[in-house]
């Protein structure tokens, strides 16, 4: 399914961003945004594992590579919106906040959450990615042939 006609594309994007964010950074941005809603747990934060899979030869049959820690949480806001979170690591606060954000993004407060929380998170993630790519690019080899042997 292409991104344009995937009705869940936007939600996937923000859930993925939250899953990969640093727990400390998310907590800081969230507290600063001061938009914590009234909510109830449908599923209190729970730490577990997910089996990460790879493919033999990168393209063949799937195999189990090993697990990673994941924390999940589900909440419902007083208005009825339901938010889910599956986030990397073992930080329960991170999962709780991510579930609240997922729920809020389905309400009228979406634009406010996007500006106060998701946009700064995205910027941090992009900067980190760009910095690492720039360091890698600096170690790219420029070949030049000195002497070409004849035998």
């Amino acid at each position: 399914m292409t991104r344009e006609n995937d009705p869940n594309a936007a939600r996937k994007t923000w859930m993925s961003l939250l899953a990969k964010s640093d727990a400390g950074v998310l907590s800081q941005i969230w507290d600063k945004a001061d938009i914590a809603p009234d909510f109830r747990f449908l599923r209190a934060p729970e730490i577990g594992g997910v089996m990460v899979r790879g493919r033999a030869g990168a393209v063949g049959a799937a195999f189990n590579l090993g697990e990673m820690t994941v924390t999940r949480c589900s909440v419902t806001l007083s208005g009825g919106a339901v938010g889910h979170a599956y986030v990397q690591g073992r930080d329960k606060k991170k999962a709780e906040v991510a579930a609240q954000i997922d729920a809020l993004m389905q309400t009228d407060l979406a634009a406010q959450v996007e500006a106060a929380v998701l946009a700064p998170l995205r910027k941090i993630a992009e900067t980190a990615k760009r910095t690492r790519a720039a360091k890698a690019a600096a170690t790219k080899v420029d070949f030049f042939t000195m002497v070409r042997g004849e035998d």
Binding site: L42, R43, A44, S74, T76, G80, V82
Partner: protein
């Protein structure tokens, strides 16, 4: 997704499921005793006891079979959210839920001689569960016990398959009793 469907799970999953596991294990270990369980509020027509068993025993690696009466969107959504268990046909099921007459007994896995544990456990929803009825003998029973069973011949046939065979959990509201393959029914 409606929040209501997603409620009714364990509030304190580690504690609630440990307690429920103990009850289910006791029921299995002492056929003919009835145990009350709590902690689940599943959507109808699932009973509380069937809900507790599903929450305690099922996860993404235990395929579940539902008979048509129990195969509703609400039941599916509830099991999916709280356990992650996939749904399957009877022959691939680790657990099944249904009324006695609706469960296709001959289709479930009875395990293999290398792995007798790779068999199905059937959660049989009943309107009535009491310690009167068929006579039970076998491991976990001092002399004899009695239990209201929906059939006798089927359980006798099942016991003959030992060490292979099916295991049964009978549920009625918040009560449950069990009949493992080791029990002789007469």
């Amino acid at each position: 997704m409606q929040a209501a469907i997603l409620e009714g799970g364990f509030v304190e999953a580690p504690i609630d499921s440990a307690r429920a596991f103990r009850q289910i294990m006791t029921a299995m270990a002492q056929p003919g005793t009835i145990n009350e369980v709590t902690g689940a509020l599943p959507p109808a027509p699932l009973s509380i006891a069937a809900g507790v068993v599903l929450l305690t025993m099922c996860d993404p690696e235990t395929p579940v079979f539902l008979t048509p009466k129990f195969d509703t969107d609400e039941v599916r959504a509830w099991i999916t959210f709280h356990t992650g268990a996939p749904f399957t046909a009877a022959n691939n099921a680790a657990f099944a839920v249904g009324a006695w007459g609706d469960l296709p007994l001959n289709e479930f896995s009875i395990g293999s001689s290398e792995y007798p544990d790779r068999s199905a456990t059937l959660i049989v929803e009943t309107d009535h569960l009491s310690v009167t009825g068929a006579t039970l003998r076998g491991p976990g029973i001092k002399d004899t016990a009695t239990l209201s069973l929906p059939d006798a011949q089927a359980f006798q046939n099942n016991a003959l398959l030992f060490p292979l065979g099916l295991d049964f959990i009978f549920t009625c509201q918040s009560d449950l009793a069990a009949l493992p393959r080791t029990t002789k029914v007469s």
